[in-house]
């Protein structure tokens, strides 16, 4: 039992570390972009919006393959030496998470009535203060964006397997471990890992629901 725990715990910790870091980066980059897109009247806005929404359907394995080619020794980003590291796994998840964060943020901010924007400006809000206030008003949508991205990251297998390599003690996460154990025929362990993944997802969603209740008060 102790040896199983010893084996599994680092995998759980790495899964959380990779996915949470990717979500954090995606939120920092994607939320301001989503707000700007929602408020902007620039040309080509609908094309960017369509790209963001299409990005949600991006197959992880294709992202993994493209990143693999870019990060491999002969690739454009080969100099970084990121292939088969957690950095590459985080980068893959950021690319997969970003469209969700941008798309959901954009939709949440667009749902705030335009008249509210005018009324806030009439109270003296500068463009940046307006954006900040609208972010606050869209907080439920923003939380949903972060949770969706986290869910996608935690359950993702194709991209992290290709760029992480599933190296024990280095880049092995829950999903790649499940794949490996299934291949080895160790279904009991694979199922246990699956149960841990589901429990994590449930715990995160419960925390989200509680946070949402608190912020809605």
């Amino acid at each position: 039992m102790e040896s199983v725990l010893h084996e599994i715990l680092p995998i759980v910790i790495l899964s959380l570390a990779v996915s949470l870091t990717a979500v954090l980066i995606s939120c920092v980059l994607g939320m301001p972009l989503g707000v700007c897109l929602a408020l902007s009247r620039m040309r080509g806005r609908s094309i960017i919006k369509a790209l963001a929404f299409s990005g949600m359907a991006m197959p992880p394995v294709v992202v993994g393959l493209l990143l693999y080619l870019l990060l491999s020794r002969s690739g454009w980003l080969g100099e970084w030496q990121w292939l088969f590291t957690t950095r590459a796994m985080i980068l893959a998840q950021v690319i997969l998470d970003l469209p969700f964060v941008i798309g959901i943020t954009l939709t949440a901010v667009e749902a705030v009535p335009e008249e509210l924007q005018f009324q806030l400006q009439s109270l003296g809000a500068t463009p940046w203060q307006l954006r900040w206030t609208l972010l606050g008003e869209s907080r439920n949508g923003l939380m949903l964006a972060a949770m969706t991205a986290l869910g996608r990251g935690l359950s993702e297998v194709g991209a992290v397997l290709m760029v992480g390599g599933n190296i024990e003690g280095h880049t092995r996460v829950l999903t790649t471990a499940i794949l490996l154990e299934t291949g080895r025929g160790r279904f009991a362990i694979a199922l246990s890992l699956g149960a841990i993944l589901l429990t994590l997802a449930l715990a995160i969603n419960l925390a989200f629901i509680k946070l949402r209740r608190q912020t809605s008060r």
Partner: protein, 242 residues
């Protein structure tokens, strides 16, 4: 007119839609005075107030505010922060009542707890201060919108039917608070109303708007007792005009 002009609009045109445009040929308003805008629904009262916020880009014409020209009718942030609007259908932030009232001051980096307490007290909002603004009735929302605009001690207060959702006692209270504000801070009030009795009570001057144009503007008593334009005569006598 003894006081200096605060607003001067010249040849202003703002096309709201293909069917409606606000056209103001030459209009001036002095600081510290209360102007009531009256007119039937769809006459352009709300659009006129929106133009006066300095947040809307004009098609043509010029606006001068306290000696500063606004490029295409858009005010600098310094000028626009001297003007506050109480909208006809106020929308509040999903925060507490107090946070909503403090919002404008917060944007300016100020805190004024005593002033906010006084306002909440004067408008009977003290007990609601900690409550979520999303749970308020229409009348309470209107009072919070008035409080959040008054909190800024603006040079100009633009009021779009500010008492439309209020009971008679609250209407009296709001009129009294606004009059106090005017006397204490020499606030200029530009007040759109459907209520002729209210216009008679609060206005120094009254303007009749029809189809986006000012038909007649004059001192309150002249407007109600000696109207010049036949349409104004009809309007003050309760006959519908278009």
């Amino acid at each position: 007119m003894t006081s200096r002009p605060l607003y001067h609009l010249l040849d202003v045109c703002f096309e709201l839609s293909p069917d409606f445009a606000l056209r103001i040929d030459d209009w001036q308003h002095s600081a510290g005075q209360t102007l009531c805008l009256v007119g039937p629904t769809g006459a352009g009262k709300t659009t006129f107030l929106k133009v006066l916020t300095g947040l809307i880009s004009l098609q043509t014409g010029s606006i001068e505010f306290d000696g500063h020209g606004w490029s295409q009718g858009v005010a600098s942030i310094d000028d626009s922060r001297r003007i506050a609007l109480v909208p006809q259908r106020p929308l509040l932030l999903s925060r507490s009542v107090r946070a909503n009232v403090e919002y404008g001051l917060q944007l300016r980096g100020f805190r004024a707890d005593d002033w906010i307490n006084e306002l909440l007290h004067r408008l009977g909002l003290e007990k609601l201060a900690a409550k979520s603004a999303q749970t308020l009735s229409g009348g309470q929302t209107q009072l919070v919108a008035i409080a959040r605009a008054l909190a800024l001690r603006p040079t100009v207060l633009l009021l779009d039917e500010p008492t439309a959702n209020l009971d008679p006692a609250s209407v009296g209270l709001v009129e009294q608070v606004l009059e106090e504000m005017r006397q204490r801070h020499r606030t200029t009030l530009i007040w759109a109303t459907h209520n002729m009795f209210q216009a008679r009570r609060v206005a120094d001057r009254v303007a009749l708007l029809l189809a986006g144009r000012i038909v007649e503007i004059s001192a309150r008593d002249d407007f109600f007792h000696r109207p010049v334009d036949p349409r104004t005569q009809d309007f003050v006598n309760g006959r519908m005009v278009y």
